[in-house]
Amino acid sequence: MTLNGKWKENNMIINKRNIRDLRKNFIRHFGIFIFVFISSMVMVGISSSIDSVITSVSDLFTQCNVEDGNVETFQKLSDKSLAEIVAKGIDIEDESYYDATFDDNKILRIFRNRRKINLLKLTEGREPLKAGEIVLSKGFAQKNSYDVGEKIKLGSKDYLIVGYATTPDYVNATRMLSDLVSDYNTFGLAYMYSSDVNDYFDSVSVKYNYSYILNGHNKNDLSDIINKDNYIVSMVAKADNNRITGYESDIKMIKNVSLVIAIVLVMLVAFIISNYISSVIESECVVIGTLFSLGYLRHELTKHYISLPAIVVTGGSLVGTLCGILFGGVFVQSVIQVYNFPTIGKAIQPYHLLLGILFPISFVLVINLGLLLRRLSIEPLKLLRKDIKRKKRISYLRINRFDFLKRFKIKEMNSNKSNVLVLITGVILSVFLIMFGLGMWSSLVNYIANIGEETKYNYSYYLKSIDEIQSFEGTEKINNKEMTLILDDDTSKKILLSGIDSDCRFYDFSIADNETGAFISTNVSQKFMINIGDEIKLKDPDSKKVSNIKVKSIVENSNGFYIFMNRLNMNKLIEKDTGYYNVLLSENKLDIDKNYIFKEVTRDSLTSDVESVSNRLIPLCMLIIVISICICIILILILIKIQFDRSSFSASLVGCFGYNLGEISSIYMFPIKASLIIGLILGIPVSYFIFRALWPVLTVSMDTYIEVNYNWYCYLIIGVIYVICYFISILRFRMNLKTVDYATAMKARE
């Protein structure tokens, strides 16, 4: 046998211990494996699923020629205008639609098949090739059980469903542009053969909508041509179109959250392993000293002691990454299914593998190799003499007040200060994890509840025109206008400037007629760090005028980004008549001609919309809570087991003196009980402040600010979890003590 071969063979001899150690401490190693597995799976699963969505949607946009924007006109664009637009070099496509109502409350938005912009992407079947054929959006079809090959009756005519499809302009398939969420039960999209569409497009209810691709031209070039012989009702750029870009906010937030959780998990793994390695070196110092004496070198023993954790972490990260790639979609399913996405392909990027495999392995190894090299640099003689702790002055704790048992407990804890510190740190880290999950969930639940409480009116009517509107008793007139808030870093954000009267009954605050400043909602204040006394810049998107307004107050309002002004002063600011308004708020339903209403929103529909948005995230929160509780229990039990192993000799010795099981567990569980209590007392506020600081970063992509809010029962849940951990530990401690043979314990040498 060659020397190298011999070396390899014999080197494996000492590593045989790894298999036995794995078997003996299976729960501990399995716990570490599970930690790494979960962190890699969550990191890779969520990141790859979200990146897959982003890639698939981005491919959809590219392949199907997503619009640069769309314009709704008062009447059909003339052939002359269309020719002029095309001559200018701007691509334009007639994407006018008609909302066909059927089955009482269902609406199918009918489009003609597209040729240039926002093309159909089929998820099943084929495009309509002749009259009588129709393609539906998948969500609506599935919710209402319309299968490909079946027929759907619209008006008096039956149409054969030949496929399901999505288009770039309806990735978030909401009926109104301002709707937060799609409702597949009642709203769907249909794409027909051109000749069929003409049956509908003769109707007066057609919305004349045109999508455009500017090809480097200015938006104004297009609007100037249209305005020559038509009137623009609205013009929405792609970036402002919630139907095209709205999906990004949820999924980016989830990705941020998953990365934070996974990083904390990897830190926990590194922490547990370093704690484990320390305890192993402590208990095996004589063996290590002997091996050094016999000629082993530091790097050889370092390799030996790191090999098992390295194998466990590598195994966990590989399996976790694989499961993340295969099943990661489950984590984001609740979010993905509300969107009208194309078929999502798997987009595995190199950084997913770095994140799932290389990051946990390298993080854990670097931390623990450092620890091992330090611990194994102790002189062999010191190791042989078990003299491995730094020399400290012995502190004599003088306690006269308590009985012997209490004094013993306190002294036991004092002599185990370093172990207690380790356990406290572990508790703080695990509390953070659990507070994170509970914080997300509780904040969302409270956000939904607050919206309901704050909305004091039952109906809001968004008006097209106020000329013909009669005055109604008990209503409040509001002027809402979308403005651009220009931030200090020159970025901007769309907000709603809301003009209210000084005696408006539906808000808890009043803005006097002589008040020219602004009252900003808590959302705006917290999201953009704006405080009372600051000056904000608001840009009118129509006139392009920028106004500086002083912030006079911060008012409670959870629903979106609102800035309030007195209506009179706001009208002056945006150059409207003093009496101008465009929204009516009312406690009762009003009898207003539908032709004058742009949108009617009820309190219930508003809260259910917000609920739908929040509910998409709640399954993920529950998943995080369950994972964090499991991890917390595993972590605490592993750490307590390590602590127990360290004190087992001393506990056995006390048993030899004649102490009973209850007394022994009371003495040796005291440091653990104290560590749990101290860890909780420190961990809860620390986690609260870290979560508060992280939350705005995590939710930066969301179009609202959700305030961090912990319900009282969150703290109760945390308390109960740790009480359960404590009692499980007592049980395990007692079971372990029962198995100790005191004669063997007496033979053991300290």
Binding site: N10, I13, L294
Partner: protein
């Protein structure tokens, strides 16, 4: 001379706590000799052995092994000196608990380019039938035999034994001494034994009696007894 100790001194502590453990110790050991160092507790025997083994450092003086001065070597040179030349036997065996007898011996096999065959060694030490036993399943005598085999498997030039029979009864002690003697003869290994047991000096070529850190007496034994013949 294989091992030369020259004017070796070592002290601990300062002022009132000052303790001179070794005071100007000098002696020599030839290759293949058994050297026993005896003396009361605290006389400096273990410190002397640890300095020879590169586990401790001296304040002054020199340890020269095969012409190389150990006391001038740095940490990694000393680690290699131990790896290439030394075998250690401790009073309390210090076996790896979760490796069986054979594996505990094999652990040190790869440290040497000229290792002794494990099976042969186990045969000599009568460990073959205990090969698969773990330390907790063996008696003290059996564990010490494994520790001896572990120290010898790499075929060291110098075997350092720190109270090798200190934790054993008469019968097992005799057995261990018999084996050390046998291995010394078979492989020509130089052996230094630290002990309280004066009877062991009868089987040693050189006997050093140490008292208060100084060599009290050096005996060159011309009337060697075998391990079987010594009694205490």
């Amino acid at each position: 001379m294989q091992l030369v100790i020259k004017e070796l001194s070592k002290s601990y502590g300062t002022k009132e706590a000052y303790n001179k453990v070794l005071d100007n110790i000098s002696f020599e050991v030839k290759k293949g000799q058994i050297c026993t160092i005896i003396g009361p507790s605290g006389s400096g025997k273990s410190t002397l052995l640890n300095i020879i083994g590169g586990l401790d450092s001296a304040d002054s003086g020199a340890v020269i092994f095969e012409g190389k001065e150990i006391t001038k070597m740095n940490k990694s040179q000393i680690a290699l000196y131990r790896r290439n030349n030394l075998g250690f036997i401790f009073q309390f065996y210090n076996l790896v608990p979760n490796l069986n007898a054979k594996e505990n011996i094999e652990v040190c096999q790869y440290l040497s380019k000229d290792a002794i065959d494990v099976n042969e060694l186990m045969e000599i030490l009568e460990l073959t039938k205990h090969a698969s036993k773990y330390p907790s399943e063996m008696s003290g005598g059996q564990q010490q035999r494994v520790a001896i085999a572990r120290a010898l498997v790499k075929n060291p030039k110098l075997l350092l034994c720190d109270e090798p029979t200190g934790a054993l009864d008469y019968k097992n002690s005799k057995e261990v001494l018999r084996l050390i003697e046998k291995l010394n003869k078979k492989y020509g290994t130089t052996v230094i034994i630290i002990t309280h047991n004066t009877a062991i000096s009868e089987m040693s070529n050189v006997v050093l009696k140490i008292k208060d850190g100084k060599i009290d007496q050096v005996i060159h034994n011309t009337n060697l007894k075998s391990a079987d013949d010594i009694e205490w």
